[in-house]
Amino acid sequence: MEFGPALYHEFGEAWKTRDGYRLAKTISPELTPSQLSSIWQSANGAGSYKAARDDDVKAAIKRGLSSSSARLDGIGQKEIKGWVEVYFAYWQAAGILAQVQQTSSWTNAYEQWKVLINALIQGYNSHEFEAWTIPCLYVAGKHLRLFAMQADEHISVNDSSATAFQDDFDPELQKHQKLEDCARVLNKVFTICLSDRAPLEESRKWGLYYIVNLLFKTYFKLNATGLSKNVLRILTAGRGDMPDFHAFPKSQQVTFKYHEGVLCFLEENYAEAEKHLTEAWNTCHKDAMRNKELILTYLIPCHLITTHTLPTEKLLEPYPRLQKLFLPLSRCIKQGELHKFDIALQEAEDEFVKRRIYLTLERGRDIALRNLLRKVFIAGGFEPVAKEGDKPVRRTRIPVAEFAAAISLGSEEKVDNDEVECLLANMIYKVSQNYALPSMFLPGASRHPRLSTLIGGLIKGYISRERSIVVLSKSGAFPGTGV
């Protein structure tokens, strides 16, 4: 909006209705370059294309804001002073942004936008900005992150000298210089929201989840998930003094739950992850396909681990990308085609790794193996019936060699019996919950030993080393699969 009566009027109107989002619109940079440059020129005084002196511009803004808010009660001189700084920073940013497409001086844009957000922070800290204005922080924070990413993209790796005196250097840091800086600024914003002690109705705490979501996005991009955990911890600790989570806008809830879920997922805490992701899934707007797709990307592997269930084709129908991702694997798991599973996993490896689900999906191999062994068991048929009328009993003593043959199916490699026994032992040992998934990466693997015995393995039975056979349980050798 051009710096003129219209802006000042809008400012006054927003103020009158205490409409934060309306106010936030006045500092939005989401404008065309021509709009931005008209802002830039508008404050330069009547048609003068030369840059006016800063003080003149500030004085003009101050006059405008004062006149439009003269009729308002509640706005003090201090606040006006704060807003003058904000709009002045915005005006300068507009000047840079109008040019940014040609000059690609994104670093400048970022730095100037940082001035703006700092002016806002200053406003909350010392100019008594009211809590309803926090949408301005949203707009400022959101674009700060976008500009930072743009700036990092355009920055060349070599023109930083800040690391000269460290013993070692880290190019990763240099690559995300601005975004790291952005994370620090956002953290400041997070703090001013969190530390507000005003009563909940007029507390900046209502801005928390929006800012936290921004922080999550930033940290994920920076590959610093550990920092996200810190934020989560702070939130959990302060939850008592905060508005109820469900009172926040649903969009914020969904984003937050998604990130919380993914964080648990990355820590291999699949039960928690499933809980959060499911909540995100249920709250998500039905038409937000992209978001739903993202949620499913993690929820499906989660389900595979926790409940051994695979997505139905109907569920995946609207998401061609997910179909491509998960269907081949699902088919192999269902059929117990071990070798094909390996191939499918390998083929899509890059895709999986990029989404950080490779390590989880890899465990689907256990399920595939279980299904294969189950087939062997069923193919074994029944023991000869001793007496007429007796219920037939499945053959439960199966030579290891039979399993070995099944496992080698389709593959070139011969698997020796010791390895087959090892795989069987795993099946027996592993529990169907994530508590006792393979030892690696799971420090708490046996944190719940009792639970793990309760749940039992994928197979019930034992191996007799001496006779090289597997003795399966007569009742429910493959728990949860009907045999």
Binding site: L266, N426, S439, P443
Partner: protein, 669 residues
């Protein structure tokens, strides 16, 4: 025989098969004699670690003990020893033993009485022999031996410090110092200057060159160092001319004094290589200097020190008031910080100057030793440099430092101020340092020393922004040594840097280190980083032997396939085994839990030994016992020992949980 009869015996184990040494070169021959190791009553798994330690001087990649023995050249090296295969009539269960010789040897340095018996229990080839010998060897504790490398020779070109003492015994006096070599010419200035010097401005022949030659020839005590012939720059010539302009003459200063001072000034400038850098146009004329000095001398009577010098960073005579001198130092630094004057002749000047200065200050602090004890200590910490300029976080400089230090060795000190070129070794010197360190490591493998030296090398490279193949080599070697010593903190630092360096496209053993990196993340259970490593690998890299091995290790663990895991453990290429050793213990526990749950009623102990790749049944048994399974071993009538898996219950679960508790490594991000 009871299972626990292994005590009170020493164990001889032969170590062999280095494939590469720390420098990554393939090693064909054993560079050290195999060591004899005594492991009196240490439990086997400790034995193993001790072996690792004792064999460090081998300085070579260690393969898991005896797993893939190659035909051993050692056999011919020690023909007096019996062929091991004769000792044990059994062929091994493990395929490798049949066709390979196991080298058996005793220490080659001392000859203890050795008699060998086939390994008890283990009917495999005698991996382990017991010998009754309690003669300790101390050769593997070379850590205590400090290297006796001569320290670098003292800096050249610094006049003997006594020169100052001789020339200036009084504390307050002329501010400008004269080198000893000038002492002579100073005493007889007339000899060198023609008395009938033409004062005319234009036609006067430049006197300086003639001057110089005569001084060079005349002093009988002139230092033997040959003086190079100096071409006087025009600015100097005109300076001399200006000095003798009638308008500039001062009646209070005699011509002799003037000539002496002039000569002194110029000669000193030339000796300090400042001829071209001093702005002669603004240089005070000799008569002015003399007058100034006179004034100061007068002042100095009242207030000692506070001397002014014609050019600000000239060596200062050091008075008792050290503080003021220090302040001046700081002032000088802040005007032209040393790291600013990065290149060219100026730099050289600065170096010699500061060396002079150091000498001077050290000398003076000797005189006033009590007062300056603290300062002296501080200087020692600073590597002998007067560094009052300190700040917790040095401001970034304008550009990389160009080092001028010629010393080969330098101990590591974390920078708290911008590095000084004279403390930094240029790559040329560092290359020699690396060679020296490699030699030293091979010779006495003093890790504390080596690590310190490598850290300082890395620092020098970093402050000079040297990122080339040599940098890679330094980091690689340091990483290998750190691995060998199990110093994961240092290793991780090197690895992080290496990753960055490889990313810059530098050549090195990228694949080898990528493989280590994967193993390292397996050890630290760092899933996020592991995922990003996977993301970074190219298809070609995935086919690389070492990387493929590491990936297989990862996948076998992820799927709980311990059988495959321990096979891979056996086949570890390069130095990966050092890393795998770190988590093999916990994986054994995990596998043991697995076996206990799955097998009933029991399994032969041998089965455990083989599946979990223990060296011997004895070691397997010890492992079980150490983890609380003492009641689970039982001897059968036919002599075999079985492991009662059916009765194990939750025995190993708590140990496993403990083993998998978070890995905390110093220096990990």
């Amino acid at each position: 025989m009871s299972l626990l009869m292994r005590d009170r015996m020493s164990v001889v184990v032969v170590w062999w098969i280095p494939t590469i040494d720390v420098t990554g070169r393939r090693v064909k021959h054993l560079s050290h004699p195999p060591r004899l190791l005594h492991a009196d009553s240490a439990p086997p798994q400790k034995t193993r670690q001790r072996l690792v330690r004792a064999l460090q001087p081998l300085n070579a990649t260690r393969r898991p003990l005896f797993r893939t023995l190659q035909p051993s050249p050692l056999r011919s090296a020690s023909p007096e020893l019996p062929n091991p295969t004769q000792l044990s009539s059994h062929t091994s269960v493990r395929t490798i033993h049949r066709h390979h010789q196991v080298a058996i040897t005793a220490s080659l340095t001392s000859t203890p009485t050795v008699f060998l018996r086939p390994t008890y229990l283990s009917e495999q080839l005698p991996l382990v022999f017991f010998l009754v010998s309690h003669k300790r060897q101390s050769d593997h504790s070379s850590d205590n031996m400090m290297p006796t490398w001569p320290t670098a020779s003292p800096p050249q070109g610094v006049p003997p410090s006594t020169a100052y003492a001789a020339t200036y015994s009084a504390p307050a006096f002329t501010p400008v110092q004269v080198r000893q070599t000038f002492g002579q010419s100073y005493s007889a200035p007339q000899a060198s200057y023609p008395t009938t010097h033409p004062y005319g401005p234009a036609q006067s022949p430049p006197p300086a060159p003639a001057n110089h030659q005569s001084t060079a020839a005349s002093p009988p005590t002139a230092d033997e160092q040959p003086r190079k012939k100096v071409q006087w720059p025009d600015s100097v010539r005109s300076y001399v001319q200006r000095s003798f302009f009638p308008a500039n003459m001062d009646p209070t200063v005699s011509k002799e004094e003037m000539e002496g001072k002039l000569k002194e000034t110029i000669m000193r400038a030339s000796e300090d290589n400042l001829l071209y850098s001093i702005v002669w146009e603004t240089m005070p004329l000799p008569q002015q200097i003399i007058k100034q000095e006179r004034e100061q001398r007068a002042k100095a009577m009242a207030y000692p020190a506070q001397a002014q010098t014609p050019y600000s960073n000239a060596p200062m005579p050091i008075s008792k008031k050290r503080k003021s001198a220090d302040l001046e130092d700081v002032a000088n630094l802040s005007i032209t910080p040393p790291w600013r004057t990065g290149q060219g002749a100026r730099l050289e000047d600065r170096v010699t100057f500061s060396k002079d200065k150091r000498q001077a200050t050290e000398e003076s602090s000797d005189n006033t030793s009590k007062l300056n004890k603290y300062e002296k200590r501080q200087k020692r910490f600073n590597g002998g440099y007067v560094s009052t300029y300190r700040s917790p976080s040095p401001p970034p400089g304008d550009g990389p430092v160009v080092g001028t230090c010629e010393k080969l060795e330098k101990s590591y000190l974390r920078l708290t101020a911008p590095p000084k070129p004279e403390n930094v070794r240029p790559p040329r010197v560092l290359k020699n340092t690396l060679e020296l360190l490699k030699k030293k490591w091979k010779k006495d493998s003093n890790y504390a020393y080596i690590c310190d030296q490598f850290k300082s090398m890395r620092q020098d490279l970093t402050v000079q922004r040297v990122r080339d193949d040599f940098t890679v080599e330094v980091y690689e070697i340091h990483a290998r040594i750190a691995l060998e010593k199990g110093d994961l903190g240092e290793y991780n630092q090197c690895q992080t840097q290496l990753k960055a360096l490889y990313k810059l496209g530098l050549k090195g053993k990228a694949n080898e280190f990528k493989a280590y990196r994967i193993l390292y993340f397996i050890h630290t259970a760092n899933r996020t980083d592991l995922n990003s490593v996977l993301a970074d690998l190219t298809p070609a890299e995935k086919k690389d032997k070492a990387i493929k091995h590491a990936l297989d290790v990862r996948s076998s663990l992820a799927l709980g396939n311990y059988h495959r895991f321990f096979q891979l453990y056996n086949e570890t290429p390069n130095m990966g085994a050092y890393l795998m050793d770190m988590f093999v213990g916990r994986e054994r526990l995990a596998a043991l839990c697995n076996i206990c749950k799955a097998y009933k009623p029991d399994v032969p102990l041998r089965f455990v030994t083989e599946e979990l790749y223990f060296e011997s049944d004895m070691e397997a048994a010890q492992f079980i016992i150490d983890n609380g399974g003492q009641d689970l071993l039982q001897e059968k009538e036919d002599g075999t020992i079985v492991f009662l898996t059916g009765k194990a219950g939750q025995t190993f679960e708590s140990h496993k949980a403990k083993a998998f508790a978070r890995v905390d490594i110093k220096g990990q991000i």
